[in-house]
Amino acid sequence: MAVTKPTDRELGKPEDPDSGTLGSSSDLGRDAVRALRDHAAINRLADELLPALISRLSSSGLGEIEVREGAWKARLRKPATAEHRVRVDEHRLHGAAAVRPPAAGHRDDRDRHAPETAADEELGAIVARSPAVGVYTPRRDLVVGMRVRAGDRIGFVDVLGVQQDVLSPIDGVIGSSLAEAGEAVEYGQELVRIEVPGADGATDRPTPGQKAAAAPVAGRP
């Protein structure tokens, strides 16, 4: 949960009658009034608004609620579930060091991507996918050839101002990018290839690193 006072720049002028063109820093009396008003606003938020918002959020299917009042806004967000944070496509890993997300929808996913999967496997490449629909930004220092471990953040997708991490599904080396920085991406979209040395089509055995990375998250069903 976050209660923040946005900067004047973030706020539209009509919403903030106090954001006049004159600098207000020298006007101490005005600042004091403002501070008092802010305290009152915080108290009101804590006593009245937040309990109502929390019950509203938990009874709804929403993941996040944001409310603005005057110069203040409160944003509540449900914690991301574990499955949301770690998303690894089992079938891409020769079914070896795999983490299977609990969401059953991936059954379809497996069938659908079967042809690509075979191609990827021949190349020994795994793909990091988008965790959500939004705008993709890779990590600033992301370069081809960089080593990553399973679970490393390789970028994020901005969903209405909330960053959702793009994680490497596996230990490996960054390969080619499949989406540009700033590109609108859909859920599950392929973003970055992760080359896995030694995991070409012939091997069925995971490297010890893969196993270690996957084991703590979930057992193989």
Binding site: S60, G61, L62, E66, D108, L160, E186
Partner: protein, 454 residues
């Protein structure tokens, strides 16, 4: 008018909305979950976007996913269809906060009609009858007193319950005495709240609903009624219009009273007021649906009005462009919900791949469905495969056309309720237009199917 609409739903209604957008010359983007990639709407759409996994909570029910999808695809409005986020005031508010239009009633209107109890009180104050009931019961003596006033039989209902859970039917004061304490402890155990109230039990009731449309300027029309009395465990199976339960005068009177009440109460956009009609013909308001209904095609067939287009135009702020005099329902229409359910196995939902598929045709036949040969029915959502709607100049001809169409309709590969529909059509109670909402549950579906096979 909008440039591009995000369709945030699935199945047949996503396809229906896509068709409306195309007919209106509006761009459309179909938002789909991973499990619906092969469904007809994302397949036919010029643009489609995957918003999440099969789990609806992370796709069709995720407000951030839906709104984000609308923004990144350049949409200026979101159509929520029915179910999912369609009546969620919080969602409508989020949509508006992001500068987009929610196609449905504005958030304040959804909020106002969100509570069933408050809506009943509100519309009662605008002249609609509601099912007589008590306030919260203090104790047994209070319950007996209230039940005497309402008149037996009565239902004991837990205040915190829902969907018929924890309800008890009592027909006499003695039964009430015997049941009261049990109900109270059951409510405490089941819902963590032991408050109870009473409601009059309407024995052989019919379900009749009035379709209304109100624009932002306050122009209001009704589009007649739909009779949805053929139900199984509160799920509608067959709907028809006009209702065979009411005379023409009674139908017009109910529609006019419903329209006046809802317009006075400050409603906006499409809405459906549901009523229970008791054996004496008295109509009791039960709830309102603030969205397009599954069964809207039968109203379209009799009135010739495109309801989804109307809904979109109202949301865009346009006036209705119709007066009550322009609504002239003609003939009779019946809709059949084609479900992937096995009537012989307690209506268990069926999943699997559709083999051969053939939709019927001919005069007055309409099929709304997202399936095709080879389509894999996913397990994650409801079992609705599509809707067969039939129009004819009168009810007997509509029944005859419907039977012919149901015989043509072919859905191989999984068990459906097509035969049950044919059996119901052949049943004398249906032919006489006397089906009550409890009929299928009381007698079970087996006798219908058995009689239909003879």
């Amino acid at each position: 008018m909008f440039n591009k609409i995000l369709i945030a739903n699935r199945g047949e209604i996503a396809l229906r909305i896509l068709r409306a957008c195309r007919a209106m010359g509006i761009g459309a983007v179909v938002a789909y979950s991973e499990a619906d990639r092969e469904s007809l709407a994302p397949q036919l759409a010029d643009e489609a976007i995957c918003i999440g996994p099969a789990d609806a909570r992370r796709s069709y029910l995720s407000a951030p996913a839906v709104v984000s999808a609308a923004i990144v695809t350049g949409c200026d409005a979101i159509h929520p269809g029915y179910g999912f986020l369609s009546e969620d005031a919080g969602f409508a508010d989020v949509v508006r906060a992001h500068g987009l239009t929610f196609i449905g009633p504005p958030a304040e209107v959804l909020e106002k009609f969100a509570s069933k109890e408050a809506t009943r009180r509100l519309l009662a104050s605008h002249g609609l009858l509601t099912v007589p009931g008590s306030g919260m019961l203090r104790d047994e003596a209070h319950a007996l007193e209230e039940a005497e006033q309402i008149g037996y039989p009565v239902l004991i209902k837990p205040s915190a319950g829902g969907g018929g859970k924890g309800m008890r039917l009592v027909r006499t004061a003695r039964e009430l005495e015997a049941t009261f304490k049990v109900s109270r402890s059951e409510a405490q155990a089941g819902f963590g709240d032991d408050s109870l109230y009473l409601e009059k039990y309407l024995d052989d009731n019919r379900h009749v609903e009035i379709q209304v449309a109100v624009d932002r300027q306050g122009n209001a029309i009704h589009l007649g009624e739909r009779d949805c009395s053929v139900q199984r465990r509160h799920q509608k199976l067959i709907e028809e219009t006009p209702s065979p339960a009411l005379s023409e005068a009674a139908r017009r009177d109910l529609a006019e009273r419903a329209l006046r009440a809802i317009a006075e109460a400050g409603y906006e956009n499409l809405g459906t007021l549901e009523f229970l009609i008791d054996s004496k013909g008295e109509a009791y308001f039960i709830e309102i649906n603030c969205r397009v209904q599954v069964e809207h095609p039968i109203t379209e067939l009799t009135t010739g009005i495109d309801m989804v287009a109307l809904q979109i135009r109202i949301a865009a702020g346009e006036p209705l462009g119709l007066t009550q005099a322009d609504v002239k329902p003609q003939g009779h229409a019946i809709e059949f919900r084609i479900l992937a359910e096995d009537p012989a196995k307690d209506f268990r939902p069926q999943a699997g791949q559709i083999g051969a598929y053939l939709a019927p045709g001919g005069p007055g036949i309409r099929v709304d469905s997202h399936v095709y040969p080879g389509y894999e029915v996913p397990t994650f959502y409801d079992s609705l495969l599509g809707k067969l709607s039939v129009w004819a100049p009168d009810r007997p001809q509509a029944i005859a056309r419907a039977d012919a169409a149901l015989r043509e309709l072919l859905v191989d590969g999984l068990t459906t309720n097509i035969e049950l529909h044919r059996a119901i059509l052949a049943n004398q109670v249906f032919i006489d237009g006397k089906v009550t909402t409890n009929l299928l549950d009381r007698v079970g579906s087996a006798p219908f199917v058995a009689a239909g096979n003879r």
